[in-house]
């Protein structure tokens, strides 16, 4: 099932949910079916107009704004009983936010959850896109704090809507200009604005700009939900996403001199971790599943190589 099919099959989840509702005090995945339908209608519109912010009737969720209420509502609306859910926060499966949202859906929807990127059909994320490339039967849901990339320079909502409608995106470069003027390079490192499908400028939520190239022609359906601002938007699979830049200052991603201290990866996004009172630091992959998977693979290789060594010794 690819992600577009899963959008179409959303309506089928409704009947399946009834049996769950009879057993639990909550409706399947917490939200009532009407609310889910309005959000799904919004999602269909968002997919039809890539990068365009669609308003939706956001509901109160049993968690504070800023903790991912937008992402949770989107996840609740598209989740079916057969889905496998993964939740990540800052790339990690075991931080507070990820653990509580995962438990929330385990309890209210009883869906299968996982930490393995390739097993998940729905991934809710905060701050990262998994290192492992996604496939076209997966949906990635982002939690977004401020959906409008123009907000920093234009406080008026009516004005920013007009600017989006008329493609007046010149001011987006003012911020990048200021970066170069003050720091000599584009110093914006997260929530880096990008042009979607050559039309709408989008704030890709606070992912590091390291992840921006992964938005481009991604096979998975990318959905963005902002709970406080009650906006959602989408990047459908195989959509062009271009990070804004200047001709003489092209877009660049972060680079590290170190490799991951655990798995030795030299091409993943690294977190700096202070490990003692002396300020000793280590760099580790922010994507915990990617890192542990690599460590496991390396251990297995070691085991099998030492195994084959033993074998050859035996033969000798």
């Amino acid at each position: 099932m690819n992600s577009m099919d899963s959008m179409n099959s959303m309506d089928n989840t409704e009947s399946a949910n009834v049996s769950h509702a009879q057993q639990s005090n909550y409706n399947f995945a917490y939200l009532d079916e009407q609310s889910k339908r309005t959000i799904r209608r919004g999602l269909l519109k968002a997919v039809a107009i890539p990068g365009h912010q669609v308003p939706f009737a956001g509901r109160e969720m049993p968690m504070p704004y800023g903790w991912g209420t937008g992402g949770v509502q989107l996840t609740a609306s598209i989740l079916g009983e057969k889905d496998v859910l993964k939740v990540i926060d800052q790339g990690s499966d075991d931080t507070t936010n990820a653990v509580s949202i995962r438990r929330f859906f385990e309890r209210t929807a009883a869906v299968k959850t996982t930490t393995a990127t390739e097993e998940a059909t729905v991934i809710q994320t905060r701050h990262r896109i998994p290192e492992q490339s996604l496939s076209n039967d997966q949906i990635l849901i982002f939690q977004v704090p401020i959906p409008d990339p123009l907000r920093f320079i234009e406080p008026s909502e009516t004005e920013t809507q007009k600017m989006h409608a008329l493609e007046e995106y010149g001011v987006m470069h003012v911020k990048l200009y200021e970066d170069i003027a003050h720091y000599g390079h584009i110093a914006t490192t997260y929530a880096y604005p990008a042009l979607v499908n050559e039309r709408y400028v989008m704030d890709p939520s606070p992912i590091p700009k390291f992840d921006n190239p992964k938005l481009h022609m991604n096979e998975a359906l990318l959905l963005f939900g902002a709970g406080r601002e009650k906006r959602l938007y989408a990047v459908p699979p195989y959509t062009k996403v271009k990070s804004l830049d200047f001709d003489d200052h092209p877009f660049e991603i972060q680079q590290w001199e170190e490799n991951c201290a655990l798995c030795g990866s030299d091409n993943s996004f690294l977190d700096e971790v202070i490990v003692d009172d002396e300020g000793t630091r280590m760099y580790v992959c922010s994507d915990s599943h990617y890192c542990s998977q690599r460590v496991a693979e390396q251990e297995q290789e070691q085991v099998s190589s030492s195994h084959s060594q033993n074998k050859s010794e035996d033969l000798a």
Binding site: I153, K162, A165, L166, E167, E168, G170, V171, H173, V174, K175, Y177, E178, I180, A181, H182, F246, D247, D248, H249
Partner: protein
């Protein structure tokens, strides 16, 4: 003798423009033509409709009736309220320039002087940082601000410098028509003199057409070729500046001229 080529096509034609908020509040029955290279002054007391008229001309407030026809660089005659909003806004940022009375309204106070000038360039599609910066520094020098200060915030500038920065920002994309609302209001006289001098030089050098709202007749005398006098939403007198100021015909104009204080 060879005659100089005079452009006879008006840049802007205003026909029976009316925009009223209440009876005789706003502007009505306004007719005039503005030719390339001409500076037109709109004078009158507070509440006479000068700013309403300027808002109509600058695309910010559609008139209740009447036409405002602009002759574009491409040679088209456009009624600026008949074209769609996207086209009108593009026209406003490519061919029109608007200088506000308070620099704070016309500048982005939180970004550097260079970015303020560069914004207009980026808005019309310039994507080369080095080029934008060169143009910005160049414009700062033209308005007599040290190019070293290109990375300073406008809030670090004096009032007069802010106003000059605003003028540089507006002129960076080479507009053909500049609308100014009391550009020297609120500045002391020596700073005023400098701004007036600058505007006069730039208008001559760049062959700009300007419509300037002012209540200061001395400013009008110095800069404007022609004047329109407004009172209670109507144009009561119009003509050459010297003619109007030296030989006012309408009773209100006579009052206005005689009210000027001379030190």
């Amino acid at each position: 003798m060879k005659m100089p080529v005079v452009e006879t096509q008006p840049l802007l034609t205003v026909n029976n423009v009316q925009k009223l908020y209440a009876i005789n509040r706003g502007c009505q029955d306004v007719n005039f033509s503005l030719y390339p290279g001409e500076v037109l002054g709109i004078v009158g007391e507070s509440g006479s409709g000068k700013s309403t008229l300027l808002n109509c001309l600058s695309g910010q407030a559609a008139p209740n009736s009447g036409d405002i026809i602009y002759h574009t660089r491409a040679g088209e005659d456009l009624n600026i309220y008949d074209i769609n909003e996207a086209k009108r806004r593009l026209l406003m940022r490519s061919e029109f320039g608007i200088v506000k009375q308070h620099p704070r309204d016309g500048l982005r106070m939180r970004v550097s002087a260079g970015a303020n000038i560069g914004e207009r360039l980026m808005a019309v599609g310039d994507r080369h940082y080095g080029h934008i910066r060169d143009v910005a520094s160049n414009w700062l020098e033209q308005v007599e601000i040290d190019a070293e200060r290109v990375d300073h915030l406008p809030s670090e500038f004096s009032g007069g410098m802010q106003q000059r920065l605003q003028i540089a920002r507006v002129l960076a994309t080479h507009p053909r028509l500049v609308l100014m609302d009391e550009p020297t209001g609120g500045l002391d006289v020596s700073v005023q003199a400098k701004i007036l001098d600058l505007i006069r030089t730039l208008v001559a050098d760049l062959n700009l057409s300007v419509i300037m709202v002012t209540h200061d007749l001395a400013v009008a005398r110095l800069l404007c070729h022609r004047l329109i006098v407004m009172q209670k939403s109507r144009v009561v007198e119009s003509g050459l500046t010297d003619q109007i100021l030296d030989d006012p015909q309408h009773a209100y104009t006579q009052l206005l001229v005689s009210s000027v204080l001379t030190p």
